[in-house]
Subunit: 275 residues, 2 copies
Protein backbone atom coordinates (compact mmCIF):
# COMPACT_ATOMS: atom_id res chain seq x y z
CA UNK A 1 0.00 0.00 0.00
CA UNK A 2 1.48 3.30 -1.01
CA UNK A 3 -1.61 5.44 -0.45
CA UNK A 4 -1.33 7.20 2.88
CA UNK A 5 -5.07 7.69 3.44
CA UNK A 6 -7.72 5.31 2.22
CA UNK A 7 -11.44 5.81 2.51
CA UNK A 8 -13.62 3.62 4.69
CA UNK A 9 -15.22 2.19 1.55
CA UNK A 10 -11.87 1.28 0.00
CA UNK A 11 -10.88 -0.39 3.27
CA UNK A 12 -14.26 -2.11 3.34
CA UNK A 13 -13.78 -3.76 -0.05
CA UNK A 14 -10.00 -4.33 0.25
CA UNK A 15 -8.83 -7.79 -0.84
CA UNK A 16 -5.67 -9.77 -0.36
CA UNK A 17 -4.85 -12.36 -3.00
CA UNK A 18 -4.18 -15.87 -1.73
CA UNK A 19 -0.51 -16.81 -2.21
CA UNK A 20 -1.23 -20.30 -3.54
CA UNK A 21 -4.81 -20.46 -4.80
CA UNK A 22 -5.58 -18.63 -8.04
CA UNK A 23 -8.79 -16.60 -8.01
CA UNK A 24 -9.05 -16.60 -4.19
CA UNK A 25 -9.11 -13.42 -2.09
CA UNK A 26 -9.41 -12.64 1.60
CA UNK A 27 -11.54 -9.76 2.89
CA UNK A 28 -12.34 -8.31 6.29
CA UNK A 29 -16.00 -7.32 6.71
CA UNK A 30 -16.01 -4.26 8.93
CA UNK A 31 -18.45 -3.88 11.83
CA UNK A 32 -19.13 -0.37 10.55
CA UNK A 33 -21.06 -1.76 7.55
CA UNK A 34 -23.70 -3.53 9.61
CA UNK A 35 -27.40 -3.05 9.11
CA UNK A 36 -30.03 -5.00 11.00
CA UNK A 37 -28.61 -8.44 11.71
CA UNK A 38 -25.85 -8.54 9.09
CA UNK A 39 -23.38 -6.75 6.88
CA UNK A 40 -25.03 -4.57 4.21
CA UNK A 41 -25.81 -6.53 1.03
CA UNK A 42 -24.57 -3.76 -1.26
CA UNK A 43 -21.18 -3.75 0.47
CA UNK A 44 -20.94 -7.53 0.02
CA UNK A 45 -21.82 -7.15 -3.67
CA UNK A 46 -19.05 -4.54 -3.98
CA UNK A 47 -16.54 -6.92 -2.33
CA UNK A 48 -17.45 -9.69 -4.80
CA UNK A 49 -17.50 -7.27 -7.73
CA UNK A 50 -14.07 -6.00 -6.69
CA UNK A 51 -12.63 -9.53 -6.72
CA UNK A 52 -13.89 -10.03 -10.28
CA UNK A 53 -12.47 -6.61 -11.26
CA UNK A 54 -9.06 -7.86 -10.18
CA UNK A 55 -9.52 -11.14 -12.08
CA UNK A 56 -10.61 -9.54 -15.33
CA UNK A 57 -7.84 -6.95 -15.57
CA UNK A 58 -8.77 -5.08 -18.76
CA UNK A 59 -12.45 -5.16 -17.79
CA UNK A 60 -12.41 -3.58 -14.35
CA UNK A 61 -15.98 -2.29 -14.06
CA UNK A 62 -19.11 -4.30 -13.26
CA UNK A 63 -21.63 -3.71 -16.09
CA UNK A 64 -24.18 -6.25 -14.85
CA UNK A 65 -23.85 -8.02 -11.51
CA UNK A 66 -26.32 -10.35 -9.79
CA UNK A 67 -26.02 -11.57 -6.23
CA UNK A 68 -28.05 -14.26 -4.42
CA UNK A 69 -27.90 -13.96 -0.62
CA UNK A 70 -27.62 -17.34 1.06
CA UNK A 71 -27.05 -16.57 4.75
CA UNK A 72 -26.51 -13.51 6.95
CA UNK A 73 -22.90 -12.38 7.10
CA UNK A 74 -21.16 -11.11 10.22
CA UNK A 75 -18.26 -8.73 10.76
CA UNK A 76 -14.94 -10.51 10.41
CA UNK A 77 -12.91 -12.42 7.83
CA UNK A 78 -14.44 -13.59 4.57
CA UNK A 79 -13.12 -15.50 1.59
CA UNK A 80 -14.03 -14.77 -2.03
CA UNK A 81 -13.45 -17.46 -4.63
CA UNK A 82 -13.78 -16.40 -8.26
CA UNK A 83 -14.13 -18.30 -11.50
CA UNK A 84 -13.74 -16.67 -14.90
CA UNK A 85 -16.35 -18.10 -17.28
CA UNK A 86 -15.62 -16.12 -20.41
CA UNK A 87 -13.24 -13.38 -21.50
CA UNK A 88 -14.78 -11.46 -24.37
CA UNK A 89 -13.91 -8.39 -26.37
CA UNK A 90 -16.27 -6.01 -24.60
CA UNK A 91 -17.35 -7.99 -21.55
CA UNK A 92 -15.84 -10.67 -19.34
CA UNK A 93 -18.12 -12.85 -17.23
CA UNK A 94 -17.35 -14.67 -14.02
CA UNK A 95 -18.71 -15.96 -10.74
CA UNK A 96 -17.73 -15.11 -7.19
CA UNK A 97 -18.62 -16.93 -4.00
CA UNK A 98 -18.25 -15.11 -0.68
CA UNK A 99 -18.06 -17.34 2.38
CA UNK A 100 -17.27 -17.13 6.10
CA UNK A 101 -15.98 -20.13 8.04
CA UNK A 102 -16.89 -22.34 5.11
CA UNK A 103 -20.52 -21.14 4.97
CA UNK A 104 -21.46 -19.44 1.72
CA UNK A 105 -23.01 -16.00 2.20
CA UNK A 106 -23.37 -14.75 -1.35
CA UNK A 107 -23.15 -16.20 -4.86
CA UNK A 108 -22.52 -13.74 -7.67
CA UNK A 109 -22.50 -13.88 -11.46
CA UNK A 110 -21.34 -10.76 -13.25
CA UNK A 111 -20.19 -9.32 -16.55
CA UNK A 112 -17.45 -6.72 -16.30
CA UNK A 113 -16.34 -4.25 -18.94
CA UNK A 114 -14.57 -0.91 -19.18
CA UNK A 115 -17.01 1.94 -18.53
CA UNK A 116 -14.29 4.37 -19.51
CA UNK A 117 -14.56 3.33 -23.16
CA UNK A 118 -18.29 2.94 -23.68
CA UNK A 119 -20.41 4.09 -26.57
CA UNK A 120 -21.43 7.71 -26.11
CA UNK A 121 -24.97 7.45 -27.45
CA UNK A 122 -27.63 8.07 -24.81
CA UNK A 123 -31.40 7.79 -25.33
CA UNK A 124 -32.77 8.08 -21.83
CA UNK A 125 -36.47 8.79 -21.47
CA UNK A 126 -36.23 8.47 -17.67
CA UNK A 127 -36.06 11.78 -15.82
CA UNK A 128 -34.07 12.49 -12.67
CA UNK A 129 -35.99 12.86 -9.42
CA UNK A 130 -36.93 16.39 -8.42
CA UNK A 131 -35.40 16.92 -4.98
CA UNK A 132 -35.03 19.94 -2.71
CA UNK A 133 -31.34 20.92 -2.28
CA UNK A 134 -29.42 18.68 0.15
CA UNK A 135 -29.54 21.28 2.94
CA UNK A 136 -33.34 21.20 2.78
CA UNK A 137 -33.49 17.41 2.99
CA UNK A 138 -33.58 15.19 6.06
CA UNK A 139 -30.27 13.89 7.40
CA UNK A 140 -30.04 10.61 9.25
CA UNK A 141 -29.54 12.52 12.50
CA UNK A 142 -33.32 12.90 12.38
CA UNK A 143 -33.96 9.18 11.84
CA UNK A 144 -35.70 7.16 14.56
CA UNK A 145 -33.22 6.05 17.23
CA UNK A 146 -34.10 2.37 16.72
CA UNK A 147 -33.14 2.68 13.06
CA UNK A 148 -29.76 4.27 13.76
CA UNK A 149 -28.91 1.75 16.46
CA UNK A 150 -29.45 -1.09 14.01
CA UNK A 151 -27.60 0.61 11.17
CA UNK A 152 -23.99 1.35 11.99
CA UNK A 153 -23.39 2.03 8.32
CA UNK A 154 -25.52 5.19 8.41
CA UNK A 155 -22.61 6.98 10.08
CA UNK A 156 -20.55 6.39 6.93
CA UNK A 157 -23.20 7.93 4.69
CA UNK A 158 -24.12 11.52 4.10
CA UNK A 159 -27.70 10.65 3.21
CA UNK A 160 -30.32 13.41 2.80
CA UNK A 161 -33.82 12.14 2.21
CA UNK A 162 -36.49 14.09 0.40
CA UNK A 163 -38.91 15.38 3.08
CA UNK A 164 -41.78 14.32 0.77
CA UNK A 165 -40.78 10.65 1.15
CA UNK A 166 -39.98 10.40 4.87
CA UNK A 167 -43.49 10.44 6.32
CA UNK A 168 -42.83 6.90 7.55
CA UNK A 169 -40.28 8.26 10.05
CA UNK A 170 -43.14 10.21 11.64
CA UNK A 171 -45.60 7.33 11.53
CA UNK A 172 -47.19 8.60 8.31
CA UNK A 173 -46.01 6.41 5.41
CA UNK A 174 -47.31 7.65 2.07
CA UNK A 175 -48.22 4.17 0.83
CA UNK A 176 -46.71 5.05 -2.56
CA UNK A 177 -43.66 2.84 -2.16
CA UNK A 178 -41.03 5.49 -2.91
CA UNK A 179 -38.03 6.82 -0.97
CA UNK A 180 -35.55 9.20 -2.56
CA UNK A 181 -32.68 11.43 -1.61
CA UNK A 182 -29.11 12.61 -1.98
CA UNK A 183 -26.17 10.31 -1.24
CA UNK A 184 -22.46 10.74 -0.75
CA UNK A 185 -19.93 9.09 1.51
CA UNK A 186 -19.33 10.92 4.80
CA UNK A 187 -15.55 10.82 4.35
CA UNK A 188 -15.73 12.54 0.98
CA UNK A 189 -14.64 9.65 -1.20
CA UNK A 190 -15.97 10.28 -4.69
CA UNK A 191 -18.25 7.75 -6.42
CA UNK A 192 -16.98 5.12 -8.82
CA UNK A 193 -18.58 1.99 -10.31
CA UNK A 194 -17.90 -0.24 -7.29
CA UNK A 195 -19.41 2.34 -4.93
CA UNK A 196 -22.60 2.32 -7.03
CA UNK A 197 -23.12 -1.31 -5.97
CA UNK A 198 -23.31 -0.13 -2.36
CA UNK A 199 -25.51 2.84 -3.24
CA UNK A 200 -28.06 0.53 -4.90
CA UNK A 201 -28.76 -0.94 -1.45
CA UNK A 202 -28.04 2.09 0.77
CA UNK A 203 -31.45 3.65 1.44
CA UNK A 204 -33.93 2.33 4.02
CA UNK A 205 -36.17 -0.45 2.66
CA UNK A 206 -38.86 1.06 0.46
CA UNK A 207 -41.42 -0.98 2.43
CA UNK A 208 -41.04 1.62 5.23
CA UNK A 209 -43.09 3.84 2.93
CA UNK A 210 -45.77 1.13 2.73
CA UNK A 211 -46.13 1.14 6.51
CA UNK A 212 -44.11 -2.05 6.96
CA UNK A 213 -41.22 -1.05 9.26
CA UNK A 214 -39.71 -4.53 9.65
CA UNK A 215 -36.61 -6.18 8.30
CA UNK A 216 -36.64 -7.01 4.58
CA UNK A 217 -33.89 -9.51 3.74
CA UNK A 218 -32.64 -9.48 0.15
CA UNK A 219 -33.07 -12.63 -1.89
CA UNK A 220 -31.46 -11.32 -5.06
CA UNK A 221 -29.93 -8.01 -6.18
CA UNK A 222 -28.93 -7.14 -9.74
CA UNK A 223 -27.23 -3.86 -10.65
CA UNK A 224 -26.67 -2.56 -14.19
CA UNK A 225 -24.07 0.19 -14.65
CA UNK A 226 -23.98 2.46 -17.69
CA UNK A 227 -21.33 5.07 -17.01
CA UNK A 228 -18.63 6.12 -14.59
CA UNK A 229 -20.33 8.51 -12.19
CA UNK A 230 -19.20 12.14 -12.10
CA UNK A 231 -17.79 13.45 -8.78
CA UNK A 232 -20.23 14.91 -6.26
CA UNK A 233 -23.68 14.14 -4.94
CA UNK A 234 -25.65 11.19 -6.26
CA UNK A 235 -29.44 11.19 -6.42
CA UNK A 236 -31.06 7.86 -5.55
CA UNK A 237 -34.66 6.73 -6.00
CA UNK A 238 -35.98 3.51 -4.48
CA UNK A 239 -39.44 2.35 -5.51
CA UNK A 240 -41.69 -0.69 -5.51
CA UNK A 241 -44.89 -1.50 -7.39
CA UNK A 242 -45.67 -5.10 -6.54
CA UNK A 243 -45.68 -6.54 -3.04
CA UNK A 244 -47.13 -10.00 -3.60
CA UNK A 245 -46.47 -13.64 -2.92
CA UNK A 246 -44.53 -12.73 0.24
CA UNK A 247 -41.91 -10.69 -1.62
CA UNK A 248 -41.51 -7.25 -3.13
CA UNK A 249 -39.23 -5.80 -5.76
CA UNK A 250 -37.14 -2.74 -4.91
CA UNK A 251 -35.96 -0.78 -7.94
CA UNK A 252 -33.19 1.75 -7.53
CA UNK A 253 -32.05 4.44 -9.91
CA UNK A 254 -28.79 6.27 -9.30
CA UNK A 255 -28.24 9.62 -11.02
CA UNK A 256 -24.89 11.40 -10.94
CA UNK A 257 -24.15 15.12 -10.55
CA UNK A 258 -23.95 15.47 -14.34
CA UNK A 259 -27.58 14.33 -14.63
CA UNK A 260 -26.84 10.86 -16.02
CA UNK A 261 -28.71 7.72 -15.00
CA UNK A 262 -25.52 5.82 -14.15
CA UNK A 263 -27.01 2.72 -12.49
CA UNK A 264 -30.30 0.86 -12.32
CA UNK A 265 -30.91 -1.98 -9.93
CA UNK A 266 -33.69 -4.30 -8.88
CA UNK A 267 -33.78 -6.56 -5.88
CA UNK A 268 -36.27 -9.14 -4.70
CA UNK A 269 -36.69 -8.99 -0.93
CA UNK A 270 -38.85 -10.81 1.56
CA UNK A 271 -41.80 -8.66 2.61
CA UNK A 272 -41.79 -7.68 6.28
CA UNK A 273 -44.69 -9.07 8.28
CA UNK A 274 -47.40 -6.42 8.83
CA UNK A 275 -47.06 -4.81 12.28
Amino acid sequence: MTTAIRSEFDLGIALTGHPEEAGRYEAELGAGWQIGGGVNGGLLLAVAGHALSLEHGQHPDPVSISGYYLSASTPGPATVRTEVLRTGRGLSTGTASLSQDGVERLRVVASHGDLGTVDGEVRTSATPPQLPPPDQCIGVEHAPKELIEQAALLERFDLRLDPATVGWALGQPSGQGRIQGWFRLADGREPDPLLLLLVADALPPVTFDLGLPGWAPTVELTVHLRAKPAPGWLRVVHSTRNLAGGYFEEDAEVWDSAGRLVAQSRQLARAPRPA
Copy 2:
Protein backbone atom coordinates in the same frame (compact mmCIF):
# COMPACT_ATOMS: atom_id res chain seq x y z
CA MET B 1 -44.18 -40.79 -19.97
CA THR B 2 -47.85 -41.54 -19.51
CA THR B 3 -49.15 -38.35 -21.14
CA ALA B 4 -50.26 -39.09 -24.68
CA ILE B 5 -49.87 -35.55 -26.00
CA ARG B 6 -47.22 -33.13 -24.79
CA SER B 7 -47.03 -29.51 -25.76
CA GLU B 8 -44.18 -28.10 -27.81
CA PHE B 9 -43.04 -26.15 -24.77
CA ASP B 10 -42.94 -29.22 -22.54
CA LEU B 11 -40.96 -31.02 -25.21
CA GLY B 12 -38.71 -27.98 -25.52
CA ILE B 13 -37.74 -28.03 -21.84
CA ALA B 14 -37.76 -31.83 -21.42
CA LEU B 15 -34.76 -33.21 -19.52
CA THR B 16 -33.27 -36.65 -19.08
CA GLY B 17 -31.32 -37.30 -15.91
CA HIS B 18 -27.81 -38.66 -16.37
CA PRO B 19 -27.57 -42.25 -15.10
CA GLU B 20 -24.27 -41.76 -13.28
CA GLU B 21 -23.75 -38.06 -12.62
CA ALA B 22 -25.94 -36.46 -9.97
CA GLY B 23 -27.38 -33.07 -10.91
CA ARG B 24 -26.71 -33.55 -14.64
CA TYR B 25 -29.45 -33.47 -17.28
CA GLU B 26 -29.56 -33.76 -21.05
CA ALA B 27 -31.80 -31.53 -23.19
CA GLU B 28 -32.51 -31.22 -26.89
CA LEU B 29 -32.81 -27.62 -28.07
CA GLY B 30 -35.43 -27.63 -30.81
CA ALA B 31 -34.91 -25.76 -34.09
CA GLY B 32 -38.43 -24.39 -33.63
CA TRP B 33 -37.25 -22.13 -30.79
CA GLN B 34 -34.77 -20.19 -32.87
CA ILE B 35 -34.69 -16.43 -33.09
CA GLY B 36 -32.05 -14.49 -34.99
CA GLY B 37 -28.84 -16.43 -34.77
CA GLY B 38 -29.62 -18.65 -31.79
CA VAL B 39 -32.13 -20.39 -29.56
CA ASN B 40 -34.41 -18.00 -27.64
CA GLY B 41 -32.90 -16.90 -24.33
CA GLY B 42 -36.17 -17.29 -22.44
CA LEU B 43 -36.46 -20.92 -23.56
CA LEU B 44 -32.89 -21.56 -22.37
CA LEU B 45 -33.71 -19.97 -19.01
CA ALA B 46 -36.76 -22.26 -18.75
CA VAL B 47 -34.60 -25.32 -19.48
CA ALA B 48 -32.14 -24.33 -16.72
CA GLY B 49 -34.96 -23.40 -14.34
CA HIS B 50 -36.60 -26.77 -15.03
CA ALA B 51 -33.41 -28.64 -14.10
CA LEU B 52 -33.30 -26.80 -10.77
CA SER B 53 -37.02 -27.55 -10.22
CA LEU B 54 -36.18 -31.23 -10.48
CA GLU B 55 -33.22 -30.86 -8.10
CA HIS B 56 -35.13 -28.96 -5.43
CA GLY B 57 -38.15 -31.28 -5.22
CA GLN B 58 -40.34 -29.53 -2.65
CA HIS B 59 -39.48 -26.14 -4.16
CA PRO B 60 -40.48 -26.63 -7.80
CA ASP B 61 -41.10 -23.02 -8.91
CA PRO B 62 -38.51 -20.40 -9.81
CA VAL B 63 -39.13 -17.34 -7.60
CA SER B 64 -36.04 -15.42 -8.74
CA ILE B 65 -33.83 -16.61 -11.59
CA SER B 66 -30.87 -14.83 -13.21
CA GLY B 67 -29.14 -15.96 -16.38
CA TYR B 68 -25.90 -14.70 -17.93
CA TYR B 69 -25.61 -15.52 -21.64
CA LEU B 70 -22.09 -16.56 -22.59
CA SER B 71 -22.33 -17.72 -26.21
CA ALA B 72 -25.02 -18.26 -28.84
CA SER B 73 -26.70 -21.65 -28.61
CA THR B 74 -27.69 -23.76 -31.61
CA PRO B 75 -30.40 -26.38 -32.11
CA GLY B 76 -29.27 -29.79 -30.89
CA PRO B 77 -28.17 -31.52 -27.71
CA ALA B 78 -27.31 -29.55 -24.57
CA THR B 79 -26.16 -30.53 -21.10
CA VAL B 80 -27.32 -28.84 -17.90
CA ARG B 81 -25.23 -29.29 -14.76
CA THR B 82 -26.78 -28.12 -11.51
CA GLU B 83 -25.41 -27.43 -8.07
CA VAL B 84 -27.61 -26.94 -5.01
CA LEU B 85 -26.18 -24.13 -2.86
CA ARG B 86 -28.72 -23.99 -0.06
CA THR B 87 -31.96 -25.74 0.85
CA GLY B 88 -34.05 -23.45 3.02
CA ARG B 89 -37.52 -23.51 4.50
CA GLY B 90 -39.16 -21.23 1.97
CA LEU B 91 -36.56 -21.02 -0.79
CA SER B 92 -33.83 -23.25 -2.18
CA THR B 93 -30.98 -21.74 -4.19
CA GLY B 94 -28.82 -23.34 -6.84
CA THR B 95 -26.80 -22.80 -9.98
CA ALA B 96 -27.22 -24.30 -13.43
CA SER B 97 -24.77 -24.30 -16.32
CA LEU B 98 -26.08 -25.04 -19.80
CA SER B 99 -23.43 -26.11 -22.33
CA GLN B 100 -23.16 -27.55 -25.82
CA ASP B 101 -20.13 -29.56 -26.92
CA GLY B 102 -18.31 -28.42 -23.80
CA VAL B 103 -18.90 -24.70 -24.50
CA GLU B 104 -20.94 -22.95 -21.83
CA ARG B 105 -23.95 -21.07 -23.21
CA LEU B 106 -25.68 -19.88 -20.06
CA ARG B 107 -24.89 -19.64 -16.35
CA VAL B 108 -27.84 -19.37 -14.00
CA VAL B 109 -28.32 -18.71 -10.29
CA ALA B 110 -31.85 -19.08 -8.97
CA SER B 111 -33.97 -19.38 -5.85
CA HIS B 112 -36.91 -21.76 -6.14
CA GLY B 113 -39.94 -22.01 -3.87
CA ASP B 114 -43.51 -23.25 -3.99
CA LEU B 115 -45.78 -20.63 -5.56
CA GLY B 116 -48.78 -22.77 -4.61
CA THR B 117 -48.28 -21.95 -0.95
CA VAL B 118 -47.37 -18.27 -0.98
CA ASP B 119 -48.61 -15.52 1.26
CA GLY B 120 -51.90 -14.15 -0.04
CA GLU B 121 -51.30 -10.46 0.74
CA VAL B 122 -51.05 -8.30 -2.37
CA ARG B 123 -50.23 -4.57 -2.42
CA THR B 124 -49.73 -3.89 -6.09
CA SER B 125 -49.75 -0.27 -7.18
CA ALA B 126 -48.86 -1.24 -10.76
CA THR B 127 -51.79 -1.30 -13.16
CA PRO B 128 -52.30 -3.75 -16.02
CA PRO B 129 -51.83 -2.44 -19.57
CA GLN B 130 -54.95 -1.27 -21.37
CA LEU B 131 -55.13 -3.34 -24.54
CA PRO B 132 -57.76 -3.72 -27.25
CA PRO B 133 -59.26 -7.26 -27.27
CA PRO B 134 -57.00 -9.90 -28.86
CA ASP B 135 -59.04 -9.97 -32.09
CA GLN B 136 -58.38 -6.25 -32.54
CA CYS B 137 -54.61 -6.65 -32.05
CA ILE B 138 -51.94 -7.43 -34.61
CA GLY B 139 -50.99 -11.08 -35.12
CA VAL B 140 -47.52 -12.09 -36.23
CA GLU B 141 -48.93 -12.95 -39.67
CA HIS B 142 -48.70 -9.21 -40.28
CA ALA B 143 -45.08 -8.97 -39.15
CA PRO B 144 -42.39 -8.07 -41.68
CA LYS B 145 -41.31 -11.14 -43.66
CA GLU B 146 -37.65 -10.66 -42.63
CA LEU B 147 -38.70 -10.85 -38.98
CA ILE B 148 -40.69 -14.07 -39.38
CA GLU B 149 -37.92 -15.74 -41.38
CA GLN B 150 -35.46 -15.12 -38.55
CA ALA B 151 -37.88 -16.15 -35.82
CA ALA B 152 -39.07 -19.72 -36.16
CA LEU B 153 -40.45 -19.51 -32.63
CA LEU B 154 -43.14 -17.02 -33.66
CA GLU B 155 -45.10 -19.96 -35.14
CA ARG B 156 -45.37 -21.41 -31.65
CA PHE B 157 -46.80 -18.21 -30.19
CA ASP B 158 -50.25 -16.74 -30.46
CA LEU B 159 -48.98 -13.21 -30.01
CA ARG B 160 -51.28 -10.22 -30.58
CA LEU B 161 -49.57 -6.87 -30.35
CA ASP B 162 -51.34 -3.67 -29.39
CA PRO B 163 -51.74 -1.65 -32.63
CA ALA B 164 -50.63 1.44 -30.66
CA THR B 165 -47.15 -0.10 -30.15
CA VAL B 166 -46.43 -1.61 -33.58
CA GLY B 167 -45.68 1.54 -35.56
CA TRP B 168 -42.13 0.21 -35.95
CA ALA B 169 -43.45 -2.58 -38.23
CA LEU B 170 -44.61 0.16 -40.63
CA GLY B 171 -41.42 2.19 -40.36
CA GLN B 172 -42.92 4.52 -37.74
CA PRO B 173 -41.47 3.63 -34.33
CA SER B 174 -43.00 5.71 -31.56
CA GLY B 175 -39.68 6.36 -29.82
CA GLN B 176 -41.34 5.66 -26.48
CA GLY B 177 -39.64 2.32 -25.95
CA ARG B 178 -42.76 0.25 -25.30
CA ILE B 179 -44.24 -2.88 -26.93
CA GLN B 180 -47.22 -4.66 -25.43
CA GLY B 181 -49.72 -7.34 -26.32
CA TRP B 182 -51.49 -10.59 -25.58
CA PHE B 183 -49.62 -13.89 -25.40
CA ARG B 184 -50.55 -17.54 -25.34
CA LEU B 185 -49.00 -20.64 -26.81
CA ALA B 186 -50.33 -21.61 -30.24
CA ASP B 187 -50.93 -25.22 -29.17
CA GLY B 188 -53.13 -24.17 -26.27
CA ARG B 189 -50.83 -25.22 -23.42
CA GLU B 190 -51.81 -23.15 -20.38
CA PRO B 191 -49.26 -20.93 -18.59
CA ASP B 192 -47.28 -22.07 -15.55
CA PRO B 193 -44.23 -20.64 -13.79
CA LEU B 194 -41.67 -22.16 -16.18
CA LEU B 195 -43.56 -20.80 -19.20
CA LEU B 196 -43.36 -17.31 -17.69
CA LEU B 197 -39.55 -17.49 -18.11
CA LEU B 198 -40.09 -17.83 -21.85
CA VAL B 199 -42.77 -15.14 -21.93
CA ALA B 200 -40.37 -12.63 -20.31
CA ASP B 201 -38.26 -12.81 -23.48
CA ALA B 202 -40.97 -13.52 -26.08
CA LEU B 203 -41.81 -10.13 -27.57
CA PRO B 204 -39.71 -8.39 -30.22
CA PRO B 205 -36.85 -6.31 -28.76
CA VAL B 206 -38.24 -3.07 -27.36
CA THR B 207 -35.53 -1.23 -29.29
CA PHE B 208 -37.65 -1.79 -32.44
CA ASP B 209 -39.88 0.94 -30.98
CA LEU B 210 -36.82 3.23 -30.68
CA GLY B 211 -36.14 2.86 -34.41
CA LEU B 212 -33.30 0.38 -33.90
CA PRO B 213 -34.36 -2.73 -35.84
CA GLY B 214 -31.17 -4.75 -35.32
CA TRP B 215 -30.27 -7.72 -33.20
CA ALA B 216 -30.08 -7.08 -29.43
CA PRO B 217 -28.24 -9.93 -27.70
CA THR B 218 -29.07 -10.46 -24.03
CA VAL B 219 -26.25 -10.07 -21.52
CA GLU B 220 -28.31 -10.86 -18.44
CA LEU B 221 -31.97 -11.70 -17.75
CA THR B 222 -33.55 -11.89 -14.28
CA VAL B 223 -37.18 -12.94 -13.76
CA HIS B 224 -39.11 -12.63 -10.48
CA LEU B 225 -42.28 -14.72 -10.13
CA ARG B 226 -45.01 -13.94 -7.60
CA ALA B 227 -47.88 -16.30 -8.32
CA LYS B 228 -48.93 -19.25 -10.43
CA PRO B 229 -50.61 -17.72 -13.50
CA ALA B 230 -54.31 -18.37 -14.08
CA PRO B 231 -55.25 -20.18 -17.32
CA GLY B 232 -55.88 -18.11 -20.41
CA TRP B 233 -54.35 -15.12 -22.12
CA LEU B 234 -51.36 -13.32 -20.61
CA ARG B 235 -50.78 -9.61 -21.06
CA VAL B 236 -47.14 -8.63 -21.56
CA VAL B 237 -45.51 -5.19 -21.51
CA HIS B 238 -41.91 -4.61 -22.57
CA SER B 239 -40.40 -1.21 -21.92
CA THR B 240 -37.06 0.58 -21.71
CA ARG B 241 -36.07 3.93 -20.26
CA ASN B 242 -32.30 4.05 -20.51
CA LEU B 243 -30.32 3.22 -23.63
CA ALA B 244 -26.80 4.28 -22.66
CA GLY B 245 -23.26 3.01 -22.50
CA GLY B 246 -23.92 0.66 -25.43
CA TYR B 247 -26.65 -1.26 -23.59
CA PHE B 248 -30.33 -0.93 -22.72
CA GLU B 249 -32.55 -2.45 -20.09
CA GLU B 250 -35.72 -4.24 -21.14
CA ASP B 251 -38.30 -4.55 -18.40
CA ALA B 252 -41.16 -6.99 -18.82
CA GLU B 253 -44.35 -7.30 -16.84
CA VAL B 254 -46.57 -10.34 -17.26
CA TRP B 255 -50.20 -10.12 -16.11
CA ASP B 256 -52.47 -13.16 -16.01
CA SER B 257 -56.16 -13.46 -16.97
CA ALA B 258 -57.14 -12.88 -13.32
CA GLY B 259 -55.47 -9.45 -13.42
CA ARG B 260 -52.44 -10.35 -11.29
CA LEU B 261 -48.92 -9.15 -11.99
CA VAL B 262 -47.45 -12.67 -11.92
CA ALA B 263 -43.93 -11.93 -13.20
CA GLN B 264 -41.54 -9.02 -13.54
CA SER B 265 -38.28 -9.23 -15.41
CA ARG B 266 -35.40 -7.05 -16.44
CA GLN B 267 -32.71 -7.81 -18.93
CA LEU B 268 -29.60 -5.96 -19.99
CA ALA B 269 -29.06 -6.25 -23.73
CA ARG B 270 -26.52 -4.84 -26.15
CA ALA B 271 -27.95 -1.91 -28.05
CA PRO B 272 -28.31 -2.47 -31.80
CA ARG B 273 -26.17 -0.20 -33.93
CA PRO B 274 -28.21 2.67 -35.41
CA ALA B 275 -29.30 1.89 -38.99
